[in-house]
Amino acid sequence: MLDFLNALPGAVSQGLIWGIMAIGVYLTYKILDIADLTVDGSFCTGGAVFVVLFSQGVNLWVALLAAMVSGMAAGLVTGLLHTVCGIPAILAGILTQLGLWSVNLAIMSMKANVALNIINPDVLNKLLVSLRFVQDVSKGTRPFYQHPIFVVGVVTVVIIAVLYWFFGTELGCSIRATGANQAMARAQGINTARNQVLGLMISNGLVALSGALLSQYQGFADANMGRGAIVIGLAAVIIGEVIFSKIFRNFGLKLLAVSIGAIIYYMVIQLVLSLNLMDSNYLKLLSAVVVAVFLSVPYWKGKYFAKPVKRGGVNRA
């Protein structure tokens, strides 16, 4: 158990990083009402773009921004496939994801794996987050504000604040309306096709940013790194929703719940690893089961534990 507690900072850091991706998934899955599978590809795109640019000496913030833009481009492709070419959203996402596999390899000069030279202290010190900093802060060789939990926590809060503001604007409201009811949105003069593309771009931009942070954190980008990301994202969204839906009603708080959902997910994974609860080869099965269970909870609740409806209490007009 002590091992688990010691491993917590790392698990929380990783959860926070994946939480940013999960917020992206929330935007498409919950707000746009699209299950966007581009995520599995664009996550790696973000990591690959970041590592390649940063290794070539590009400024860290510029590299992060470029990673985000690359993710937005991926979202743009999925969006255009869906809206202009009329391909169902799930399939459009799968097509982009498949194509991104090659694109990601091309970004990494046809290598499946590109690393950051974290052995070199000059490179390490330039990074925003690293798994190494978790230990360094606890040993006191780095100030607390370099702890990944603090850094990614601040990034997350900033992202939530910006999204909270954005989805309160005229444009943001029209995106929400697009996801809630397309017929109504069009009747109110909203260009639903453009909004879907825009939503997919914002979502995948966040996913790629998350990928860039993770590759920085673990020290490499790998062609396989986004595989199953959508499941982790959905897990975070659903865990957050099941636990906090009663207390968090505000939009910003719902995004926060998603981030906390991702942290909980990684704490569970870390718990399983630290306590040797099961063979780590069963991790993927565990993930699938966690998502399936949390997805079925609201359904079963509604089906078998519904509160009796008050008769005559509802005013019909």
């Binding site: 409201c173 929400r176 809630a180 109504m184 009747a187 109110q188 003069g189 005013n315 019909r316 007009a317």
Partner: protein
């Protein structure tokens, strides 16, 4: 205000399910006209409204609203000229958004949406006053999700949204059909008030002949994708259900119309 010239629309062309829904419809509405539309199932009433709203492009013909040719404009661009209320109460509002947010969306119909506030304080006050006029108690629930409202409340809200920015044309597609009689009467009364107050040019589909006769200054009846009857002025004021059935029989040369119309 609205000029429909000889429009055609065939669904599933070239398949066994081919169906000519609009077969050369022409219709001119003057400013302030309140036209009720009746007709049996499959007569093309809803198809006509959808053609005007731009849900899909027509095969032939032109549609002009207030002098602007909108035939080639996509649905969301035509929305600038048109207010709509649908048959299904779920369709006209965003269930997961608040009442005031829905109104704010409607207030921006036909305007560019960018990074300005989605809803302002001044708007909230304005909406509260408007909701008070509906007399449904919604002014105290402005931050409630629309999904929590009853069907009648939602239709009333949709009606308010459709007229929030004064439309050149109001399209009502059997908007009381899904409501119980008492609620339907209330919503219809609200419709009459709003149309009169704002002098809205209106096309209202109804399945109820009495409503069709009681409201509006003009009545058209559709049959097999065409306008079969067009009654206005004094003639419309004196119209009875029996007259209507007789006229329909004459116009179409069919006597199987009675049941179809009454039941449809």
């Amino acid at each position: 205000m609205l000029k429909i010239e000889n429009i055609y629309k065939t669904f599933n062309a070239g398949t066994v399910n081919e169906k000519t829904a609009l077969n050369g419809v022409s219709l001119h509405l003057k400013e302030g006209d309140f036209v009720t539309v009746i007709g049996g199932n499959g007569a093309g009433k809803s198809t006509l409204l959808n053609a005007v709203a731009g849900v899909w492009p027509v095969d032939e013909g032109t549609i002009t609203i207030g002098g602007v040719d909108v035939t080639r404009l996509p649905e969301h661009k035509r929305a600038r000229y048109i207010g709509r209320v649908f048959q299904d109460p779920m369709m006209g509002t965003a269930a997961t958004m608040q009442i005031e947010e829905n109104l704010a969306l409607a207030a921006r119909r036909g305007k560019r949406r960018f990074l300005g506030a989605g809803i302002t304080k001044a708007e909230r006050e304005e909406y509260r006053e408007m909701l008070k006029l509906l007399d449904l108690g919604l002014e105290d629930r402005m931050t409630s999700k629309v999904g929590l409202l009853s069907g009648g409340q939602r239709q009333a809200l949709t009606l308010l949204m459709a007229s929030l920015v004064k439309p050149k044309l109001l399209l009502l597609d059997e908007h009381t059909a899904a409501l119980d009689p008492k609620t339907a009467a209330k919503v219809l009364a609200a419709t009459e008030t709003i149309v009169q107050r704002d002098h809205l040019t209106t096309l209202m589909i109804t399945h109820n002949m009495r409503d069709a006769i009681a409201h509006g200054n003009r009545l058209i009846m559709m049959y097999e994708g065409r306008v079969a009857l067009d009654i206005s002025g004094e003639e419309k004021k004196k119209l009875t259900v029996e007259d209507l059935l007789a006229k329909f029989g004459q116009a179409t040369g069919s006597d199987e119309a009675d049941d179809k119309l009454l039941l449809g």
